[in-house]
């Protein structure tokens, strides 16, 4: 049985200007331990899909199951890494941010600290735990977000363009780190992006979405390349081209 199952999921927003169909008939099964990248142009509804899996929004059609049980609200079994870093708590230190979920569960201070230190080390910020978010760079803040989500040991990690606001070099470094962390933890990941290279570099499978409105899954491409991935290799280029060919029409296609 798949870990997460989206079955004919649709989402329509109703506002003063009429109805807006963000997602239509979206079906996907995520297996335990895979790294799934959902790739799409802006406005295709990929973030809406993630928000529904997270439980922040309810589908207007279809259903979402996690381990066979329907998803109807946010929960600790789904860790979320947000695009913006204003989800961090600026009145807490980096370490206390990471341990926030553990504190909610009533874990003792010492145990919490040890665990938070472990994840701080995992994201490569050893020794930076006493700093507040305002003292950290954008890339470091995203590392803290990843550590905070992982420390809570969710069944799946949902990442909404987590590196989208970073400069290209920091982004590449963090992609490498995330790959390593994923290899260490084998945590299931649903990763939203509009960056083809990022998707091919990280994913075990890439799902390409159709252009919105009414975004839906166009195709799913497995990426059978070993980690760490060499971006200039012929195999990487070939994978890039095959994904690019799929999304090309969505970028340039006639309206």
């Amino acid at each position: 049985m798949s870990l997460v199952s989206l079955q004919g999921v649709g989402k329509t927003y109703r506002g003063r200007t009429g109805a807006w169909e963000a997602v239509r008939d979206f079906s996907l099964d995520l297996d335990d331990g895979e790294f799934f990248c959902l790739l799409g142009t802006s406005g295709c509804g990929k973030t809406t899909v993630l928000n529904m899996v997270a439980g922040f929004e309810q589908p207007s059609a279809g259903r979402i199951l996690l381990g066979g049980a329907p998803v109807d609200r946010p929960g600790a079994d789904r860790g979320v890494v947000f695009q913006g870093h204003d989800s961090l708590y600026e009145w807490l230190t980096a370490l206390d941010n990471i341990g926030f979920g553990l504190r909610l569960r009533g874990m003792g201070r010492r145990e919490r600290r040890a665990k938070a230190e472990h994840y701080l080390h995992m994201v490569g910020l050893t020794g930076q735990g006493a700093k507040h978010p305002s003292e950290l760079s954008g890339g470091m803040k995203q590392r803290i977000q990843i550590a905070r989500a992982l420390a809570n040991d969710p069944r799946i990690l949902l990442m909404d363009e987590p590196f989208g606001a970073l400069d290209a070099m920091t982004r590449a470094v963090l992609q490498g780190e995330l790959s390593r962390i994923w290899a260490e933890t084998r945590k299931t990941v649903l990763f939203i992006t509009h960056d083809i290279e990022e998707a091919v570099a990280l994913a075990t499978r890439v799902g390409v979405m159709k252009r919105g409105p009414g975004g839906t899954l166009k195709a799913v491409v497995p990426v059978d390349l070993p980690f760490p991935r060499e971006r200039t290799s012929d195999a990487f280029m070939a994978a890039f081209r095959s994904v690019h060919a799929l999304i090309h029409d969505e970028i340039h296609g006639a309206h």
Binding site: A54, G55, A76, F82, D86, S87, Y89, W91, F100
Partner: protein, 260 residues
Amino acid sequence: MTRSTVRTDSRLATVAGYVAGFALLFLIWHLAATLLVKSILFPPPWPVFERAVVLIEDNILQEQIVASMRRILLGFALGSAIGIPVGLAIGSFRVVRWLLEPWTEFFRFIPAVAMITVAVIWFGIGEESKIFLIAYTTVFVVVISTAAGVGAVGRDKIRAAQCLGASRLQVFALVALPATVPYILTGMRLAMANAFVTIVAAELIASNDGLGKLLWDARLFMQIEDIFVALVALGLLGFATDRVFRFLIRIFAGRFNATV
């Protein structure tokens, strides 16, 4: 250069700047009084200072300051104690907002100065009427800024807590409340300025002591230096109170908000 020396340097520069600023103010006052106005109705700083020394030696100035500050602090504490929870409730629950927003939107346009008459009729000219007026002028500012603070808590902060397993109560106590602290403190700081306006007005009209009373008596007896002593005292007290407030904000919330 280490970080702490940078901090000490900038603090020294701040203090030096303030001293120079005040010196300039008194210099301009002196020049304006001696060269421009040349009237007995606008004394230069020195006779005012001499008069202040006399009032301090006779223990009169201290008594008025204590009387006024006591009222301000009591009323301010009472108003904040009411305003913060009400503001939190308005910001958190739509029903409370619907019920109480007409109240805040109605009463905040009736200035405390306009309430002096009713306050005196209800509570007499004793302490109660003044404390009521200060609390009144404090409460709406604090309510509005607290409620605004709750409304300004980032959506992702709440969502992050939810997907880390937070209950509604935990979201409130551990996310919404700390995120609102800078807004609460800012509201209180604004309310403190209102409190100074209100206390003087109330003491001018109905009081046996306080800086407002000092102003009023000085007017009656044409003691022009006394008026200026009271004015300078108010300015310095307000300045000092605001400094204390900013200091507290930095201690409690410096890490919350870099713009303080």
